[in-house]
Symmetry: none
Subunit: 232 residues, 2 copies
């Protein structure tokens, strides 16, 4: 993957750090600022490939920022961060370009998935594939569709995200905490038992269609999506 530059704009330091750290770890180049004025300056100077933009900023709102940078000839797509209540026609109307939006609180895996989806759409040359195929299961990330040996399976949103996270880390044990922190929203306050529940749901739906169970339990640690090594 080419080096993708992401500009993060959020006034809450917690969110900014959370996003910076985990997107940097996901392989993106990060520049983070706290307000609209800095965002406009950074967009002009840094030539980001994508902008993560909080809609509520202290000095101006995200839409004004977008209009301003677009008028400057910067076409980088914008991924808006917004509170759930603010998702009205303003946003849905604005996501015409390559833009998209995510509601707070989000999950880290969700943000990474959305960024990749946007890059896929806007830079077809240097993207990652929208299909994830590991073992007997394949996922179409654009359509959110899951196929087991060619047959489609209906998953709830959470089941889908959990499966996607497991499949992007095949043959590696993931602790329940890792799973919780990637798949669930960052302010989730509940118990890890929910991971166990959702693994159970996934197994119930997937195992009847596979030749062998795909999600292995690693007692005392967590779970692992197991695939036979292809190749040597």
């Amino acid at each position: 993957m080419a080096n993708i530059k992401v500009l993060i704009v959020d006034d809450e330091p917690n969110i900014r750090d959370l996003l910076s750290t985990s997107l940097r770890f996901a392989g993106f180049s990060i520049h983070a600022v706290a307000n609209g004025t800095d965002a406009i300056a950074a967009a002009e100077k840094g030539e980001p490939d994508i902008i993560l933009l909080d809609v509520m900023l202290p000095d101006m709102n995200g839409f004004s920022v977008t209009k301003k940078i677009r008028s400057m000839g910067i076409t980088a797509p914008v991924l808006f961060l917004t509170a759930r209540d603010d998702v009205d026609d303003k946003i849905t109307g604005l996501t015409v370009g390559g833009d998209d939006y995510v509601t707070k609180p989000f999950s880290l895996d969700e943000i990474v998935a959305r960024i990749n989806a946007i890059i896929r759409r806007t830079k077809p040359a240097e993207h990652e594939d929208s299909m994830i195929e590991v073992g007997e299961i394949s996922i179409n990330q654009d359509a959110h569709e899951v196929f087991v040996n060619g047959e489609m399976v209906d998953l709830s949103p959470t089941e889908y995200k959990l499966l996607r996270f497991l499949m992007t880390n095949p043959n590696r044990v993931l602790t329940k905490r890792q799973i919780l922190e990637h798949v669930w929203e960052y302010d989730f306050n509940g118990e890890m038992g929910i991971v166990e529940s959702y693994v159970s749901y996934l197994r119930k739906k997937l195992d009847p269609m596979t030749t062998e169970p795909l999600i292995q339990t690693k007692r005392g640690i967590g779970y692992m999506y197991k695939v036979a090594k292809s190749g040597h």
Copy 2:
């Protein structure tokens, strides 16, 4: 392996010494401090590759320390040390990026394994292989899987840890006390007979699949994982 610098942050002198000594022995460069303020200074000056950070510190908690050093542009991954009770709800959001956590009381072997796992993930270039291969047995540390002559063996968590410790010290006699101190948690209060029990479990599972017994008894001292010297 490149020289890995580890910054240890813990206010309990016992724990600090325990960690310093055994991590130094494991080949890391160590710098140890007792509080958050010193940790921030040391992180800035020493440029550690990884930070071992107690969550409960006298002056500030580990979360604040992490935020502070991350906001200074230091991206070193953090391995949090935390009491088992605090894991439930307070730590969510901590293990971003390459971070991980270990609950107190931990075992020394566990700490070394986690550090190596984090370095493998964050510095794929200069890491050690996730496979340990000694004699007829190989261990995949990512998947926590053990193979004897290519065939997989199912081990319990403690059996796995014991075998890993023996295999990282081949052809060296390990006293029962050494084994107890590395494989079991540091506050383990029981008898050394448990080492004998677990060696017995391992033999029962491994010996039927090897050409000769691999764990030798050194009467009056301890045990040794024996391998024929492969031509250098």
